[in-house]
C-alpha cells in the first residue's frame, strides 16, 4: 500500500517532531518531579549536588555538544554530496557518544563504590531529601543514558546507510530525523548538567 503514496519528507519530519514532543513531555514529567522535590528539600539537594563530580559533568557536556555539531555537519556534507566527509562526521559522533557513556559509567561506578545507589545501606542513613536526590539523579541520568544508547544505534544505522548510498544528496530524510533525535538527547543533557551538577 505504502508504495502508492508519494514521498513526503515534510510529513516524515513532522512525524519525527511529534515524536520528539512525546520525548520532551516524558522528560518534562521528570523535570516536574525534580522541581517538586527540590522545592521540598532545597538543603538536601544542595548537599547531594555537591557530592557529584562537576569536572566529569562538564567534560561530558562538551563531548555531547561536539557530537551534536558533527551530526549537523554530516547533514551538510550529505547535502553537498561529500560522502567521505559525512561518514567521518558521523563516525566522530559515534565515538563521542561512546566516550560520553564511558565517562558516565565511571561516574556511576564511583558512586556505587561509595555506596551511593538506590536501596544501599549507606544511602538509607542519609536524610530523606538526599535519598530522593540520588533517586532522581540515577533515574534521570539513567534514562538519558538509555536515550544515548538508542541514539547511537540509530546513528550507527545511518552511517551504514550513508556508506551504502541509501542516504544520499537527494534523499537524506532519515539522517535528518536521526539527527533531530540526537540533538534532543543533547538538549536534555544541557538541562541535566545545571540541575544536578552546578545549581543543585
Amino acid at each position: 500500500m505504502s508504495g502508492h503514496l508519494h514521498r513526503d519528507d515534510f510529513g516524515s519530519r513532522l512525524g519525527m517532531w511529534l515524536f520528539l514532543v512525546t520525548e520532551m513531555v516524558l522528560f518534562g514529567g521528570l523535570f516536574i518531579a525534580y522541581s517538586y522535590m527540590r522545592y521540598r528539600y532545597p538543603g538536601e539537594f544542595h548537599h547531594g549536588g555537591s557530592e557529584l563530580n562537576v569536572t566529569l559533568g562538564v567534560i561530558n557536556t562538551v563531548v555531547l555538544l561536539t557530537s551534536s555539531l558533527t551530526v549537523v555537519l554530516a547533514i551538510v556534507a550529505v547535502q553537498r554530496a561529500e560522502k567521505r566527509r559525512a561518514m567521518t562526521f558521523l563516525g566522530t559522533t559515534l565515538v563521542l557518544g561512546l566516550t560520553f557513556l564511558v565517562i558516565k559509567s565511571f561516574e556511576w561506578g564511583a558512586k556505587f563504590h561509595h555506596g551511593l545507589y538506590p536501596n544501599s545501606p549507606h544511602l538509607a542513613t542519609l536524610p530523606p531529601g538526599e535519598q530522593v536526590f540520588f533517586g532522581l539523579y540515577f533515574t534521570m541520568t539513567g534514562l538519558h543514558g538509555l536515550h544515548v544508547v538508542a541514539g547511537l544505534s540509530v546513528l550507527g544505522v545511518m552511517l551504514w546507510w550513508v556508506a551504502t548510498d541509501r542516504i544520499r544528496q537527494d534523499r537524506y530524510i532519515h539522517l535528518e530525523n536521526g539527527g533531530l533525535y540526537w540533538h534532543l538527547v543533547d538538549v536534555i543533557w544541557i538541562f541535566l548538567l545545571p540541575l544536578f551538577y552546578l545549581a543543585a
Partner: protein, 100 residues
C-alpha cells in the same frame, strides 16, 4: 496540499554551510563555560544561570542544529505548544506545592 503555509515550508531554499554551525557550537561551549563560572561564584548565581543560560543553550540547539530556523511556522508552533503545556503543568502544580 491545501495550506499555503505548509506548501511554502517545504524546506527553505538554501542550506546553511559548515561555518554557521561551528559558530553556534562555539557559542554553546562559551555559554557552558559561563554557566560553570556562575556556579562557582555562588548558589544564587548558579540558579540564575540555570534559569537563563540553559534555556538559551537549548534554544540555540533547537533553532540551528535542529533546523527550526529553516522550517516553516508549523514546527515552531508544535514546539511552542509543547513547551507552553509543560510550563502550565509546572505552574498549576506549584499552585499546590508552593501554597500548602
Amino acid at each position: 496540499m491545501s495550506e499555503h503555509v505548509e506548501q511554502a515550508s517545504e524546506h527553505a531554499a538554501e542550506h546553511p554551510g559548515y561555518g554557521t554551525f561551528i559558530k553556534v557550537w562555539v557559542a554553546l561551549v562559551v555559554l557552558t563555560g559561563c554557566l560553570v563560572g556562575m556556579s562557582l561564584v555562588s548558589q544564587t548565581y548558579a540558579v540564575w544561570g540555570l534559569l537563563t543560560l540553559t534555556p538559551l543553550k537549548a534554544g540555540l540547539v533547537f533553532y540551528f542544529f535542529m533546523h527550526l530556523r529553516y522550517e516553516g511556522p508549523l514546527f515552531k508552533v508544535v514546539v511552542l505548544v509543547t513547551l507552553g503545556t509543560l510550563l502550565i503543568f509546572f505552574a498549576l502544580l506549584f499552585s499546590d506545592v508552593a501554597f500548602r
